[in-house]
Symmetry: D3
Subunit: 284 residues, 6 copies
């Protein structure tokens, strides 16, 4: 019979029980402060994922071997804490089943749910924003507070890469974290910084979170809270190639598909790179 495409992530052809990587989307943007639309991020990433080949020439690796399952999009409530709890619940199940979750956002607050399922010792996040506020918009579960919440939820060491925006209080708080600003990445080079981060991780468990706005909005403008003067998609690729294989969970958040598709294309490509890099380092 004919072959049908089910609108899920390309090459996510493995049944849940046999899969190593489990993708799900969280189409929630209820606390977004500037521009709504990250709810459409997961499906935009899925759609453009069909644009890419199964074969990754830099890795000599074919993605259809990886064992990927895509659960679809979580049905979301209107209230952020309910969404975060639902994400935690499903991620816990994925962890219990011995699989690696890949969460597609949606707004960054969602990361708290998937982080809680792991409470990894190290939290590595690429983000234009510090996301270290105590609360915002009358709720501590706003996307502008997520790295603060993750810290409170147990991260022993936090690495923020590409940041260039925060309040004075957030910058004060960040002094206790490892902050590599966008200007710092440009000056030192991403390789040097990744050497340092790898050393500091020192074998501890890692959660890796990509906020799409880490990348300069002149390169990828499909964002809910765009910031220019950021790092490049090449920098984030290096982060994923180096830190990805160390991670027990991964998310890619805040894609807001209002551009010509480039922001989702970078996301889909980097998620594919994450799987390939992770699989090669960990399984072979």
């Amino acid at each position: 019979m004919q072959y049908f495409n089910n609108n899920l992530f390309a090459d996510a052809d493995t049944p849940y029980q046999d899969a190593r990587y489990v993708i799900f989307g969280v189409p929630f943007d209820g606390t977004t402060s500037f521009m709504a639309g990250t709810r459409d991020g997961p499906d935009a990433i899925r759609k453009v994922s069909y644009n890419f080949e199964q074969f990754l020439p830099e890795f000599g690796y074919t993605l259809s071997e990886a064992g990927i399952h895509d659960l679809g999009n979580l049905e979301v409530a209107s209230v952020p804490e309910d969404v975060i709890s639902a994400v935690e619940e499903i991620t816990c199940q994925i962890r219990k089943d011995g699989k690696i979750p890949i969460v597609l956002g949606g707004e960054h607050s969602i990361t708290l749910g998937s982080y809680r399922a792991f409470s990894s010792e190290c939290f590595v996040v690429c983000d234009a924003h510090l996301d270290l506020r105590e609360e915002f918009g009358n709720t501590p579960y706003n996307h502008a507070c997520i790295t603060r919440r993750v810290n409170e939820a147990g991260a022993k060491e936090t690495f923020i890469i590409g940041a260039r925006s925060g309040t004075e209080e957030e910058y004060e708080f960040a002094k206790n974290l490892n902050l590599y600003s966008a200007d710092c990445v440009r000056e030192r080079g991403i390789t040097d910084i990744l050497d340092e981060i790898s050393r500091k991780i020192a074998g501890r468990s890692v959660y890796l979170s990509i906020d799409a706005d880490a990348i300069d909005c002149c390169l990828t403008p499909g964002l809910g809270t765009p910031e220019p003067f950021g790092i490049t998609h090449f920098d984030v690729r290096d982060v994923i190639r180096r830190i990805g294989p160390l991670a027990e969970a991964f998310d890619y958040m805040e894609v807001c598909p209002i551009d010509a598709g480039q922001t989702a294309a970078v996301a889909a490509k980097l998620i594919r790179e994450f799987i390939a890099a992770h699989q090669i380092k960990n399984e072979k």
Copy 2:
């Protein structure tokens, strides 16, 4: 010196203390279920308001005489109950100051705040949806519950015009209300229905709420939850010309400016008609 345009509603040149009509926007769409973007409704309505003449030929009336003030957009929280409370607070003030509030949405849940400031005996709403759910998305303050909440908040008689969507339970609940479906409007004609509604109001106080999706989405597609097979903008104009002058408060909600501007243009024009019709009947 030069004349500057301040991006507020056209002809809203009267200082607050002298104004008869007080406009404010509520750029909140946190519980929107389908398409985000009604947060941009208030400013889209304001922008296109400059497209229209001060003079309304059907009324022989010049809007600059009306005494209009525009407060701008309320700074909104992420949580619907907080937004609703803030709307209630400002609307109470406007009422206390003896003025008529005109609220620009934003999602329909906001109406609960401005209604509470008046607790009008009659609630007249144009809407594609019954909005009579007990709760939705884990919150009773979802925009799909607003007419139910208004009923609980004290409306003695509710008139829903143009509805064509609801659950079986909502239709059950609606049996206690005055429901004029879109098909009913087409069959009976809006004039006949407005005669009936006017009779039933019988001099009691009225809150008039327009959900932009009452109008067929083939005519005005800039909507968060579009429904075809609706009533026309001519029908809503008749509602505003007949019921508007009876109202002590007015809102126009759910404009989501993703179209070529026609939905906001209808909104701006009808808000101007509301002011003219209300002023002529009440002040002169």
Copy 3:
């Protein structure tokens, strides 16, 4: 565990074997003459289908009872005859399994494939175009030839509703068919025409095909070959309510989602109406 949305048609929750209605999309627009993009029609229709309630008040019917399955999108080739053959193959299987196919286009040439699986005696089509050309763009499988091809494939009687465009030769050929032009529908009224069509069908088997461009492009502009001065979505609703229950197969083609979503919204709503009307008349 959490509930996930799989990006398929809303309420298509029934497994294939238990389903009465089987939806599939054909994202093909390779022969489109004017504006590409109908390949995105099936997913646009699916997305907006979640905007609608399960309960249809006019029918007092809840769609989740209907038994709907959505196969997803057929993987398509670049060559129209290959696509048409693949559509025929899958539709034959659906027919053999005793189910009603609902095909989402994609361009109108696809209809030939699903028609061939039934060779219904009567072909009822709403279309702005006669689609009666011998060939176009060097191929007989162009979307501008589809009603001609269906005729050659065995339709004994063809009813074209809403047409307003064709060559002189096509109008010559149409003299042997039942042609109700858009102007004719406006003058006689759709009810009178549907009475006549029902009489002429006289119990014979029916294939019902909706080309979205039958509706005036001022109402639903998301079209590959837009034509103004057409029939309304109310007219097509009447066609579906009357002829739908008589049909053994149904398709909705040529939605090109370049507008604010209204064309896909009408399609999704009418597909839901088709299922409800068909189910009520045939199963109860």
Copy 4:
């Protein structure tokens, strides 16, 4: 050798010297008050003109016989009076050569140039706006003044169809003209009004100008100054079928292609109807 499409109006295949109808575009929108973009109107109309068949079934007429030439787009200056003079110069030439000009706008002020080349006794204009201001934006050549300027340039009798916007002074001035407001068209019906206009024209020379915003912006929202509550495209079609054959010059202005293409589609279709209707009445 191969056939090439030259991006000019469809079926405009006749050399200038042999043509009966001469199209040219004026991509100027320098005085537009609300939304820029009518400069893109002429090419949008040309592009969608290829979407339509050469054969017009209502007329039994094939447009390729008409003798149409398209000069392309006039190179425009930044200053309105210079643009108007250039339009006058080229239109004079077309008139001297015994041909009918068809001007594609661009903003309505351009009409003054082509009108001056004819100084027709009657000026029939479909427009949402009276366009009767003395001056606007510091210039008498603003598009909001065009019908006033045409009056001063010699029109003995002016017929405005579909208007619903103007200042009090403009409405005062309009008392000396024949004004059929949009509401009036809805009440009396366009046929009755066209009977009256035809009687009043009484064989005198006619210039016919269509401002695209005469049509309700809910039907055709691609406009520089959109107005809801207008007449329909069917009304304008009737105007063109009745008054078109009497005209010695014709223009279609103010298409601003920011919508899904429906406004340009209506324009292209109506220009084709103008040619067919004019040719049939005058040449055969």
Copy 5:
């Protein structure tokens, strides 16, 4: 009472009399040669300004201390010389009141008005275009002539950074100016060039004008006359950080918000950097 957002530039909370920096917009694009829409630049810049934090980490500076007032948008005429005169008048007043004007365009011709109010000895402009024409589109006030006009109006020394487009005559004229082409910036590096410019300014008065198209249109495509192969937003940031503190007036022109928002985001961010850098160097 509640806090309202008035749609003006973020943090422009200081009353005029107390302000040090006075922003105003000039929504004029009447002479734009290629793509209309820079009239929407000022409001697009204002809107995205709310996306940024008050705190600028590189400066350790909080913008709410700066003393900023936003007058709104100047009401503009249709004729460029009238617009330029109005800009001159209001800028003179701002200068007389001892404040720094920040003009938001709108097209580049507007700069002539604000320059005339200062007649600064040095004119530093980032632009893809030389803007040195004698006249264009029949007017010497076209945006393609602005640097020529500024020269005639008294600039003793002109520095053009990032240019890559002009006529042969303009390049001839430019030999008397300081021209740093985009290729030159890439080769020498912006720091070296800024050292040279600073030396040449030698304490004289400076007007700083940014034409948004100086930046490569692959980075910021929201432009009326886009040019690839330009300088980067990092280069312009360096210009503003070095030359900004020396300037007595500043403008940011030609943002045409047809992209995903990145061009306006860069503009808003750089205007904020201008204020911070200027304030820190001059006031502290």
Copy 6:
């Protein structure tokens, strides 16, 4: 008389018989796998070509001297082999007439037609994709097979610049070709690679083909099959400046104008650079 713009490539003012460079567009995208719309590429490139000056300062050259003719757009069939044959036929004629063809795509498969007219010994192509498949979508004429087809059609030596996508089989096949991946260009620098290619060409005949997706989709996102992590527009400019003058035929394919115009702007600018560089090296 007035000057008219005919919507063809800017400065293409030379009659065919006198022209040295002959442009034509092929608005075909029938086999495009991901995103339709490259059919609109040729006209988008033409439109933005008017945005650029005739004078190219880097060359000290005025393009109006070059002798350029633009035939317009080829009328295309629905079937790729028919389109390719038509392209071959017209390109053969251009070659026979001693002129240089410049083909504007449309999809990359079109290149086979123009290549066949020359059967150049060397084929230099910038492309994100290897395009070396045996067949795709059931046809060997798919755009994903074009470099393979060109190889079979006689190219002795093939140089692929900027590739980063292909199947394992394509990478196997590519071992016999000269492949300079995007990463390789970044590492070695384009100058070094162009030195090597120039040496290898060694005076043999060259066909130069630019697939717009060679450039990183973060820089130029208007593409049918976007790929991030590509080469830059500066790299392609260097290719054109170095290899362009050696070419006997040139094409620029796969521009899909869904972005803010930057992809077409780069294309138009580079086509102008091709003509200038070619003319200067070959004619002077």
